[in-house]
Subunit: 231 residues, 2 copies
DNA sequence: CCAAAAGTGTTTCCGATACACCCATGA
DNA sequence: TCATGGGTGTATCGGAAACACTTTTGG
């Protein structure tokens, strides 16, 4: 018991909320808790800040994420810090939450790794969560809805090649509204963020849709000047 | 030295960034540090979370603010959490920053209280700051610029009665741009957020401007439905 | 040939922008 | 009477929204 302080200190943890998009559904990554408290319930990947080796909170979040899911190189943004008394029965715990969007197709593989207690859940089928993670999830969803208005989140959530209908559907799911197909396409095309490919959807029982990919170079250009992404 | 833990823990502090608006300038409240580290430099009001008595981080921020400035009933929003190693020479310290907008006229008085080491600084004349508070200030200013687009910050920053020119000037200062007088007035009037008073500016060496106040009731209505505040 | 989704233009409306002069007041 | 900011309207432009039919493909 070597660490002693003059005044009591809270524990500091990080939590990672990962969003993915697949088969028309927005998904979130959860981990089944193997120990108390909340054993058997689901929670976000996360853990304690290591004061000696984590140079920043974000690094701690990435480290914990890798330890629990095997995922690396995930770009995360800070979401909010939760610190109400009683949120962790083990004692006063402050949690800094980060969130990220990722291409589920690219990362699906790792589900079979040693971290097989990690699982993607459809956002409408999230099970009971540990701690105050339901509240954290709600905060993250609200943030995502805000973010979609000024950043092209499709870039991060969709696979390399996708159809315009898939992109539109992503927006509809996140925003919770229906969008007009023609207006949506007009708007998207005008941004010049997409590259039209000479490839088409395969294996569908109807007319195949053209595939597109994002123009990463133009994206970087626009990002530096700031741009609007209302749909 | 009674508090002992199995693993090391960081200190957890809160910082309060208070913005005010007065005499055409955006201001921020700072406190002169009386002790080490950074003795003599300026910093935001703040202090340590009291694990035993602060039921939430926000309460801690409000408590520290009152202790150091005498200000109460300040509505604060969480800004960001800063936790890079090295930001406090005394040891690993995580700071949860909150910010608030307030009517400087209402609060000016307390400057003469026991917390007379607190002082309002014009945003363009901020002195050297302790810790990483310059970075925190920049983050808060960025947030303010974002907030102005979808919330009527004049409501919180201006005194009860104000002229349209004062309101316009506030927007110009925060956004860092010039606005067209007629277009600004048209836009503002159309929101129906202002009540036209039968009172006029006094003591100015030119035509006196009409005074307005915000329609708080309509504000609450709009807030619940979400509204746009581009100017 | 049918079902299912892909793909495609035009019109209307409203908000954003640009712009210049007269008015009231105190010094 | 002059200097200073207060106050007002119109015309243009561009993006947002509404809206329906034809095309392609596999079953």
């Amino acid at each position: 018991m070597p660490y002693t302080y003059e005044y009591p200190r809270p524990s500091l943890t990080v939590d990672c909320i990962l969003f993915g998009f697949d088969e028309g559904d927005l998904k979130v990554l959860l981990i089944r808790r193997g120990g108390e408290p909340f054993k058997g319930l689901w929670a976000f990947p996360g853990g304690f800040l290591d004061v000696d080796t984590d140079p920043s909170i974000e690094v701690a979040a990435k480290r914990e994420l890798e330890e629990e899911t095997g995922l690396t190189n995930v770009f995360m943004e800070q979401l909010y810090t939760f610190g109400d008394v009683g949120r962790d029965p083990r004692g006063r715990t402050i949690s800094v939450a980060y969130y990220a969007l990722l291409k589920l197709a690219d990362y699906k593989v790792q589900a079979g790794s040693d971290a097989s207690h990690a699982q993607w859940f459809n956002i409408s089928e999230v099970p009971e969560l540990a701690f105050d993670h339901a509240k954290i999830l709600q905060t993250a969803l609200d943030r995502l809805k805000g973010k979609v208005r000024y950043q092209p989140i499709g870039f991060e959530l969709l696979p390399e090649k996708f159809t315009l209908s898939e992109l539109q559907h992503l927006y509809e799911v996140v925003l919770g509204t229906d969008l007009d197909k023609r207006n949506f396409r007009k708007k998207i095309q005008k941004m010049n963020l997409l590259v039209e490919l000479e490839e088409w959807q395969a294996g569908v029982p109807h007319r195949a849709a053209r595939l597109y990919r994002f123009d990463r170079q133009r994206y970087e250009e626009l990002k530096s000047h700031g741009f609007n992404f209302e749909v």
